[in-house]
């Protein structure tokens, strides 16, 4: 259909009808049948937040264990379980679900001017299956049979010969749950970004955070299958007597490492790129100007996405791979610095040329610059094979990856939480408490992890539960543990702030920061339909660039959950689609899939018994109600040939 020039008419959508159509009523039922992205996004935020706390508690206990030599506070077995579950929780249950799923599901539809996410029931399923993975990993730990072979569970240690019992199985199957969840969200987000953008939001005008979610979703699609495959192969080696990683029968242990890191390294960028995008968003907002070098940042994001797949072997420098491979992967690893550094310079240029306001979230942006840069510099050192071989498996590596992961993800996460908190709950966070939180966390973080560089250089290996006093590691370990205490206090202050501000914070209004992207054009918190009238977009910062009398979209039905579809490149209106109503079937499907996956750890028959219930629940999920079908048939319009 040709879209006519804008005409002045009475826009027909009514807020009351939209409210009736889009709200998810029904008390408890709502939490098991969510279909709106703000609900699902909040569920992700809370759950990933809980697992951050749980992972953090394990970290604190690990630090107490290491605070003095020959300590028996945890003991070797519990220590192994704790560091394994700490690492696995932070990567699989916190970092990716928080930085990718929670921020993506909550923000992307609002930022592109859509009423909801694409395939909302799939998004709901992704959440429930993620919870299944959380329960599996932590269930094992709480029963004192937690996974204990490290967060990457290398064979042969994790294989049937050296890790009998079910411990590693919990870990291996947890991977399938969490990666299924991320893959489902990748599909929802890509389709939302390509088809649900408000008219006028061409690719060239998409907010950088949306660009990053697009690149990231493709990274998820290409990286996650590798780890699902390798963890399933490990599970099969352990439960079905296959020999993928058994050298005695023609298998190969390095195959495990290749497949794991083919996922594992892109995963680092899957965790860092959302952080970078949050920084890009905040730097522009608080500099009161458009971001400097927008096309370059987009290209840098895409380049990071590609290069991220070409560096996995640098995790395997100590495995005796050919020297040519070592040189190649050193060069590739150094090359990935280029797009990241480019983004840094663009942020600096934006601040330089803008009128920066040092509002609360910017404290965390500053912290990010400092911390992530140190992590990047130690990364350059580790990219060099001779240095890597010297410090391999020592606390130097532990220091490095906590600097990049906490620097690249948690600092931007806190920046993002303080920035979007007013949007999500409608109230501002308490500024003084937030500053206390920042300084406690920042000082504590550097005390803990900067110290670890020296511990590593002094030869302290990672993953040892204790050490002798003659090693002279005690003082540094005590500083690190004291730092962990500061971080714990910081997190406590943060929690107090959250609970206090949700109830008593100052009312925020729609746009407390004067920001330019579309989520700030709707009330805080957003209504269940997001936008009364879908906006049209005239620039990269939709609110700042809007003309004095902006054009809105009219003609989307408000008595059903109808959304506008636009074309993928230029966002021209193309079609309309009705979204599904709340349904409990995605939840039930997740329950059945979880039961089958967990059952398959104990007997492979679970897969054959479970196939039918899974098929049944998916069919029930997609099977429509008769009145809905009739209603749709009445309003059906075919595209003219």
């Amino acid at each position: 259909m040709a879209v006519a020039d804008p005409i002045i008419v009475s826009a027909g959508e009514s807020e009351e009808r939209l409210e009736r159509t889009w709200s998810e009523r029904g008390g408890m039922y709502r939490w098991f049948a969510p279909v709106h992205h703000t609900t699902i996004g909040k569920m992700y935020f809370v759950t990933a937040g809980i697992f951050l706390l749980l992972g953090g508690i394990l970290a604190a206990l690990i630090r107490i264990q290491l605070s003095r030599p020959e300590n028996n506070f945890l003991g070797p077995d519990r220590y192994n379980q704790f560091f394994t579950v700490h690492g696995s929780t932070m990567i699989f249950l916190f970092a990716v679900p928080m930085m990718y799923q929670a921020f993506g599901v909550y923000l992307v539809p609002l930022m592109v001017g859509a009423r909801n996410i694409a395939f909302p029931r799939l998004a709901a399923f992704s959440y429930f299956i993620y919870v299944g993975g959380c329960l599996l990993l932590w269930g094992g730990l709480l029963l004192n049979i937690g996974a204990d072979a490290g967060w990457f569970s290398y064979v042969p240690l994790s294989g049937p010969a050296f890790s009998p019992g079910k411990r590693v199985d919990f870990w291996a199957q947890m991977i399938t749950f969490t990666e299924l969840s991320a893959l489902a969200v990748a599909v929802c987000l890509i389709v939302t970004i390509l088809k649900y953008r408000a008219p006028g939001m061409t690719l060239n005008r998409m907010p950088l955070l949306v660009w990053e979610k697009l690149v990231l979703s493709f990274m998820v699609i290409f990286a996650m299958p590798a780890v699902m495959l390798v963890s399933t192969m490990l599970l099969m080696d352990r439960t079905a007597n296959t020999h993928f990683f058994n050298p005695a029968e023609g298998g190969d242990v390095l195959l495990y490492q290749h497949l794991f890191w083919f996922f594992g390294h892109p995963d680092v960028y899957i965790i860092f790129l959302p952080g970078a995008a949050i920084i890009s968003t905040l730097v522009a907002t608080f500099s009161r100007r458009h971001i400097f070098g927008y096309p370059g940042i987009v290209v840098a994001t895409i380049a990071t996405g590609f290069l991220g797949f070409g560096v996995w072997v640098h995790h395997m420098f100590a495995t005796g791979i050919p020297q040519l491979s070592e040189s190649f992967f050193t060069a590739a690893t150094l090359m990935i610095v280029i797009p990241t550094a480019y983004q840094f310079f663009c942020w600096i240029a934006t601040l330089w040329n803008g009128r920066p306001q040092l509002r609360l979230p910017m404290l965390w942006v500053g912290g990010f610059f400092f911390v992530f840069m140190i992590g990047g510099l130690s990364g350059l050192m580790l990219a060099s094979v001779p240095v890597d071989l010297q410090v391999h498996d020592t606390f130097f590596v532990v220091a490095h990856f906590h600097y990049v992961l906490i620097g690249g993800a948690m600092f931007p996460m806190f920046a993002g939480i303080y920035y979007w908190f007013p949007k999500v709950v409608g109230r501002m966070a308490h500024e003084a408490l937030a500053k206390v939180h920042f300084w406690l966390f920042f000082i504590g973080f550097n005390l803990t992890f900067f110290t670890m560089h020296f511990l590593g250089l002094r030869g302290m290996p990672r993953r040892i539960y204790t050490y002798l006093p003659e090693m002279h590691w005690t003082g540094l370990n005590q500083i690190a543990t004291a730092g962990a205490g500061f971080m714990t206090l910081g997190i406590l202050v943060f929690l107090i702030n959250l609970f206090w501000s949700i109830k008593r914070g100052t009312i925020a209004g729609p746009n407390p920061w004067g920001a330019g992207s579309l989520e700030w054009s709707v009330p805080s918190p957003p209504p269940p339909y997001n936008f009364v009238h879908i906006p049209t977009v005239d620039g990269r910062e939709a609110i700042w660039d809007a003309p004095p009398n902006p054009v809105f979209v009219s003609g989307i039905r408000d008595e059903v959950r109808e959304v506008l579809l636009t074309n993928s490149l230029d966002a021209e209106p193309e079609a309309k689609e009705e979204q599904p109503a709340p349904s409990v079937w995605p939840f039930l499907t997740a329950v059945v899939v979880s039961a089958v996956l967990i059952g398959s750890i104990f007997t492979l028959k679970a897969v054959s018994y479970g196939a039918l219930p899974i098929a049944f629940s998916i069919i029930a999920w997609i099977w429509p109600k008769e009145h809905e079908v009739e209603e749709r048939r009445e309003h059906e319009k075919w595209r003219a040939a």
Binding site: M1, A11, M236, F244, E249, G250, L255, V551, A611
Partner: protein, 203 residues
Amino acid sequence: MERTTDIPVLDVSGLPTVVFREPNPIFWGNLLYMLIEGAMFAMIFASYFYLRTRSTEWPPGLAPPYLWYGVANTILFLTSVVPARSIQLRARAGDLAGSLTGLIGLAAFGLICLVIRGFEFKGLNCRWDANAYGSMVWALLVLHTGHLLTEWIETLVMVAFASSRKMEGKRFPDFDVNSDYWYFVVGWAVIMNIVLYGTTRLL
């Protein structure tokens, strides 16, 4: 009370609700699902060839899979493209009877392919726990059979839609993308059979 406002608007009330290919989100959803599964297949093939480099003999100490079940299934897969394509053409023309015929035909092909697949498993000439090669060829075949089964059930669901009172316009694009997914299953079947039956004889 209804509130109406006088604002400049872009009127989209006339836009279609039944669209095929790129304008339809289900086309993209299906495409992305194929990308995910394609990545999975690529990884498993990479692992297969990686393990090949760890062994001087291939298959190590075992007979290669029995050839003719594989050949029969490959021919059948390639022929099944005919009903799959006819579904697409009929669906895009809004022809319910034609689509239904094509879907039933495709479901029949799927069933026969599944039965022959059973013989293919028998003809592998090894168990999954024989050695790493055995594990790998079983993994390949199980993964593909999972897809074949999923696609077959999906086709049955489409038959159910087409022959029930739940039929509506938006199902025609579903029939259309169902065939896309069938092509994907066929494509990987052909590649897999070249690997399974070819490399075990030639490499």
